[in-house]
């Protein structure tokens, strides 16, 4: 199976399937709520979080507004430090560059540390075509790879799998890829992690070529930064002889000192830790330590189109923390696969249609995969106004050929309207956001609002009002029966 998500059904179709999967919903809910709680705690520890977020936003804006300058500076610094810099206009070119570099080493295997950019461009498939096997080394990515699956979360890509499934996958597939799973493998996470350790260790200790991504690239110094937990990153980044890093052009930050902001914002927003267990920083090649043949592939692949859009540009600030996924009520129910790309959740809903255009039905439906509740904007450590971009993209979809907008909106509406809980949530969300509703509709709705205002959204959904009303009545000596029932209903909302 290809992991490039080509030919995925549109969001509503995929989501409809996902919301019927009780196991998936349970896993997602548990994961998102757990991480969310941890995040809240460690963010609360810093009384200057708002200021850090302001700085993070501004640093990324500065970078994006002067990206040409910073790219040239990064190239110069990295080259000066002994790296070779390559430029890739699109996926095909990036894949060709990496394939050529691996071929030049004479190796047939590469180890990879989790990199969304290489997933985005379908690098593993391209390498396979050239007879090169790419081994994913992040535990979750390994699970996904061994089961011919797609990742479903930025941070915990195999969150849709439970321990019994993982045991089964390991027992069945590990032998094909290298060291087999031990006989009688149980499903305790500790045992499963140990099996992965043994399976991957052989790869790490023998691999000559590694492919990585990067969380940040520092223009001023030419340094790359990778944050991780397991140590597979350190293995890939230090033991092989050749290191090829594929880095999106939006990953830049101007100065070394800017890392002081992002090294606080990212781990706390992402895993809810004060700091992730391991971060690696390297600048070109270091004589006597680590890979001596170091490459940096700068990837465009639609990013400049996103950059050109003055509203959508801010999506390029994203540092892939996944906080917006963990807070999103739509993601929690639909799961990552529904978004049809490596970028799921709210950020995926704005990034994918921008990177790939809105011609496809999947892409056209994504701007509607949201209730516009605004929670994603609240938690975003670089203050990306995702709802604003969603509305902006809806306009673009709407002005496209045919009635793609209407179809997409109706399909999305069906998913929500078909489920009374989703509907209620959407209504609450609309109420909370009613101050932000424009007086005039954009796009095809404009004709209608030229002559009338959009009616006010009521301050709260009717159902909320009714429940309050019933409680009042109960307190006021009304029927205790009604009061009891609303109480019960409320408990499960």
């Amino acid at each position: 199976m290809s992991s490039t998500f080509i030919g995925m059904p549109s969001f509503p179709a995929a989501a409809r399937q996902a919301v019927q999967d009780a196991q998936l919903r349970h896993n997602l809910r548990k994961a998102t709520h757990t991480i969310r709680g941890k995040r809240g705690e460690v963010v609360g520890e810093l009384d200057d979080w708002a200021e850090l977020r302001d700085a993070g936003r501004a640093i990324k804006d500065r970078t994006l507004r002067h990206l040409d300058r910073y790219l040239e500076q990064l190239e110069e610094q990295a080259t000066g430090a002994g790296a070779t810099v390559h430029w890739a206009a699109d996926a095909e070119e990036a894949n060709a560059i990496v394939t050529r570099l691996v071929r030049a080493t004479g190796e047939r295997e590469v180890v990879k540390v989790k990199s969304m950019a290489t997933q985005e461009i379908g690098l593993n498939e391209a390498l396979a075509q050239a007879g090169i096997t790419a081994y994913e080394t992040d535990l979750a990515e390994l699970i996904v790879q061994l089961s011919d699956d797609f990742p479903s979360h930025i941070l915990v890509p195999a969150i849709h799998r439970n321990r019994a499934e993982i045991r089964e996958i390991f027992a069945r597939r590990m032998a094909e890829w290298g060291v087999p799973a031990p006989d009688g493998l149980g499903d305790d996470p500790r045992e499963l992690a140990e099996a992965a350790r043994v399976h991957l260790r052989e790869k790490f200790l023998t691999a000559k070529v590694a492919v990585s991504g990067a969380n940040f690239a520092v223009a001023e110094t030419g340094s790359l930064v990778v944050l991780e937990s397991e140590g597979n990153g350190r293995m890939c980044l230090t033991l092989p002889e050749t290191l090829i890093s594929v880095v999106g052009i939006e990953k830049l930050v101007p100065t070394w000192a800017d890392l002081e902001v992002f090294m606080q914002l990212l781990p706390r927003s992402s895993t809810g830790e004060r700091m992730n267990p391991y971060s690696s920083v390297w600048t070109g090649a270091t004589p006597g330590d680590g890979p001596q043949d170091v490459h940096l592939v700068l990837l465009d692949n639609g990013r400049t189109d996103t950059l050109a859009d003055r509203v959508g540009r801010q999506a390029l600030r994203c540092i892939r923390c996944s906080a917006c996924l963990n807070i999103c009520p739509v993601y929690e129910r639909s799961g990552g696969h529904s978004y049809g790309s490596v970028y799921p959740g709210p950020i995926g809903a704005v990034l994918t249609p921008q990177l790939r255009g809105v011609q496809g039905s999947m892409e056209a439906s994504l701007p509607y995969a949201s209730s516009l509740c605004g929670a994603c904007y609240e938690v975003c450590p670089v203050a990306i106004d995702i709802p604003e971009i969603l509305v902006h993209l809806r306009e673009r979809v709407a002005s496209g050929p045919g009635h793609a907008a209407e179809r997409a909106a109706m399909a999305a509406a069906e998913t929500v309207l078909g489920d009374h809980r989703l509907l209620h949530m959407a209504q609450r969300a609309a109420s909370a956001a009613r101050g932000a509703v424009p007086r005039r509709l954009p796009g095809p709705g404009a004709g209608w609002t030229d002559t009338r205002d959009i009616p006010d959204i009521p301050p709260r959904p009717f159902r909320d009002w009714w429940r309050e009303h019933e409680k009042e009545r109960a307190r006021g000596g009304g029927s205790g029966d009604a009061g009891g029932r609303t109480e019960h209903e409320g408990g499960d909302r």
Binding site: R65, W87, L139, A193, R197
Partner: protein, 215 residues
Amino acid sequence: MTGSREKVLARVRAALSDVPRGEAAEDVAVPRGYRRAHGQGPALDLLVDRLEDYRALVRRVPASGVGEAVAEALRRRGAVRVAAPADAPQEWFASCPAEVVRDAPLGGGPPLGVAELDAVDGVVTGCSVAVAETGTIVLDTGEHQGRRALTLVPDYHLCVVRARQVVDSVPEAVARLSPSLPQTWISGPSATSDIELQRVEGVHGPRTLEVLIAE
């Protein structure tokens, strides 16, 4: 490849046609109202607390007692052979019960091979900077630290942190570090939560991190 370089840069410039010609990068203001440190408590206490939160083993020892503490830790661990950087102080190993295998100095002689590192029971190193607020220890291949592989392949890492190497916060650490040196920031032992969000120490990298804070 030059073609693509020009192509991407041209696209970037075209995409930024709304940015006024005269605007310099520095004209985009970056508000830096955040704190240099958060005053969460005395640095050494905080460091201990954060390290323990990551389930690292921590002990505070007088500067003169490092050798004894190293010996005790290795004895408790049952370590028979440990690796150490070429320049790790001899007094750390004065009463050491284990055989100490020294790596070659950076750029001088062949380093310990991966198989050798895989075979030792642990590694003892110093560090460059430690961040109290986050419990982070930064290694940068400088004094007493050796190559990156040294602290990666063995399953047990004993790290000696000197009080003067401890700073309060991430900004203070970034300011002390040199980007030209390769760095490993360590915040607790290798860990994964990929299976049903249950934390497991592993998968790769040392599963046990022990820290001696020398005051």
